[in-house]
């Protein structure tokens, strides 16, 4: 009722935002879900994913193994939540935090002078010193973190379970 004057308002950008934003959020959800799903699948089999974690030289063997097994699964879980739009705001925030954790890992590898592949999308482990691509990996992760942040700030979007439940209408 109180939005009835929308139609009469001049088509300035502030009033277009409420109409456009849900679709941007939907695009972010689908994009980030796709990225996470691809990242998870490309890390299979776990033996190689463990090796990619070990290459960071940050965790004891047992923890690296646990991360190697569970990180891809966690990525799948986040991707599914984003796809169906459940707890959208929180899933977006957690995804963004995960990306920030990845960035921290890459920066630490860089700072310690390791020459490894980030193992973001499979692969991982030692590479020739001239073949590292830390900058690209970090830039990519910043982009993904931005998608997650957008979702967390503006969680309202169509085709979401949240909406059916009466959240973020």
């Amino acid at each position: 009722m109180d939005t009835a004057d929308d139609t009469t308002a001049p088509p300035a950008s502030p009033t277009r935002w409420p109409a456009v934003q849900p679709w941007i959020t939907l695009a972010c959800r689908l994009g980030l879900a796709g990225v996470l799903l691809y990242a998870a699948v490309s890390k299979y089999p776990p033996a190689l994913s463990i090796q990619a974690v070990e290459a960071y030289d940050l965790f004891p063997v047992e923890i690296a193994e646990l991360i190697g097994y569970t990180l891809p699964l966690f990525e799948i879980a986040l991707a599914l939540l984003l796809l169906v739009g459940l707890a959208t705001r929180f899933t977006g925030a957690v995804s963004a935090l995960l990306m920030i954790a990845f960035i921290a890992g890459i920066v630490s590898a860089m700072a310690r002078g390791l020459s490894i592949d980030c193992g973001c999308f499979g692969g991982g482990g030692q590479v020739d010193p001239g073949e590292t691509s830390y900058g690209l990996s970090i830039a990519r992760d910043i982009g993904f973190a931005a998608l997650g942040a957008f979702i967390a700030i503006w969680p309202r979007s169509p085709f979401a379970v949240d909406r059916a439940l009466g959240l973020f209408r």
Binding site: P45, P46, A47, L48, I50, Q51, A55, L73, A77, G125
Partner: protein, 329 residues
């Protein structure tokens, strides 16, 4: 009084309703977040259980079948006279993915060999021989030591110990003292240990000379004379033969296990072609067919691939004149 009081009570009611609405919304949010968290825990938990289901919780404790040392320094582990698929394993002792393979499927291989389901052909290589030390020196020292352990018939046990104790990449490891200690752990007798110790010390000197003096000098003059680009595509053993004609005498490698593992590494690049081409370690072949990572690096995948393969022939000859070949023509 009428309208004033009514207005106030209406406002109070409105406030009350808004408060309730907010509380309900908060409850709903909490519920949804809770459900989402449960979804995450379920996926991670069930997934973890499924992925680790095929891992053995206890190692293979049974008796190992005979280990037959081959002419090229590789080792065949198989029951005598058995007809089974040949599983070739190419691995570098400094390669982390090889360590993962060994930790995951080392026992699968031993068990398959012990049960006569496979002929396991261990073919250690040193793909890191041209990397900067200590990656190169670790890799070569370990490879040479494994070959020396094969002389005493404890290659498979020693192979396990090397992977278990793999140094982090870029860190000095596989020291002579460690290599000697592990030989005893692998089951080498005191008498054998004397020969082994001396051999490992000799090899360590060869490795030192190779990685510190010989290879840097050879690489430098090759880069000057044939160019970095061609050099980059050259297999180490080819580079060494080039060096032999250009003032870099490789004769100090002759008869050493260090030289042997470099030779063994040189031949794998041309052994297989097409889809089966050797690209890096670990490489696992069944009857000459390269397994994908999904197959080789999962217990289920490897077990299944072995079960489905036909019997094969070992492509190398046993060392020595014993004539007790485990595959008869």
């Amino acid at each position: 009084m009428g309208s004033e009081a009514r207005k106030r009570s209406r406002e109070r009611l409105k406030e009350q309703r808004a408060k309730e609405k907010r509380a309900a919304q908060r409850k709903k949010t909490l519920l949804v977040v809770g459900v989402a968290a449960i979804v995450v825990v379920l996926i991670v938990g069930v997934g973890y259980a499924v992925l680790t289901a095929d891992r053995r919780d206890s190692g293979f404790e049974g008796a190992l079948p005979p280990q037959v040392l081959q002419e090229d320094g590789s080792v065949v582990l198989a029951e005598e006279g058995v007809e089974a698929p040949v599983v070739e394993v190419y691995a570098d002792y400094q390669c982390p993915a090889c360590r993962q393979f060994e930790l995951l499927n080392g026992d699968t291989l031993k068990e398959s060999a012990a049960e006569g389901e496979a002929i396991v052909h261990y073919r250690p290589v040193s793909i890191f021989a041209q990397q900067p030390a200590p990656i190169s020196s670790n890799s070569l020292r370990a490879g040479a030591a494994a070959r020396a352990a094969a002389d005493a018939g404890v290659f498979v046990q020693y192979n396990d110990l090397l992977f278990e104790n793999q140094p982090a990449e870029g860190q000095e490891g596989f020291t002579v003292a460690e290599l000697q200690e592990w030989f005893r752990e692998a089951g080498g007798t005191e008498e054998e240990a004397e020969t082994f110790d001396a051999r490992v010390e000799e090899e360590a000197e060869v490795v030192e000379r190779f990685t510190q003096d010989y290879l840097p000098a050879l690489t430098e003059s090759a880069a000057e004379e044939i160019g970095e680009d061609t050099l980059g595509t050259m297999v180490l053993s080819d580079l060494i033969s080039w060096g032999a004609d250009h003032g870099h005498d490789p004769s100090f490698l002759e008869g050493t296990y260090t030289g042997e593992i470099i030779d063994a590494t040189g031949t794998i690049y041309t052994r297989y072609s097409g889809d089966n081409m050797f690209r890096g370690t670990p490489a696992v072949y069944i009857n000459g067919e390269l397994l994908s990572n999904d197959t080789a690096m999962t217990v289920r995948g490897l077990t299944q691939a072995i079960a489905e393969a036909d019997a094969g022939e070992v492509q190398t000859e046993p060392l020595g004149d014993g004539g007790e070949a485990d595959t008869s023509q």
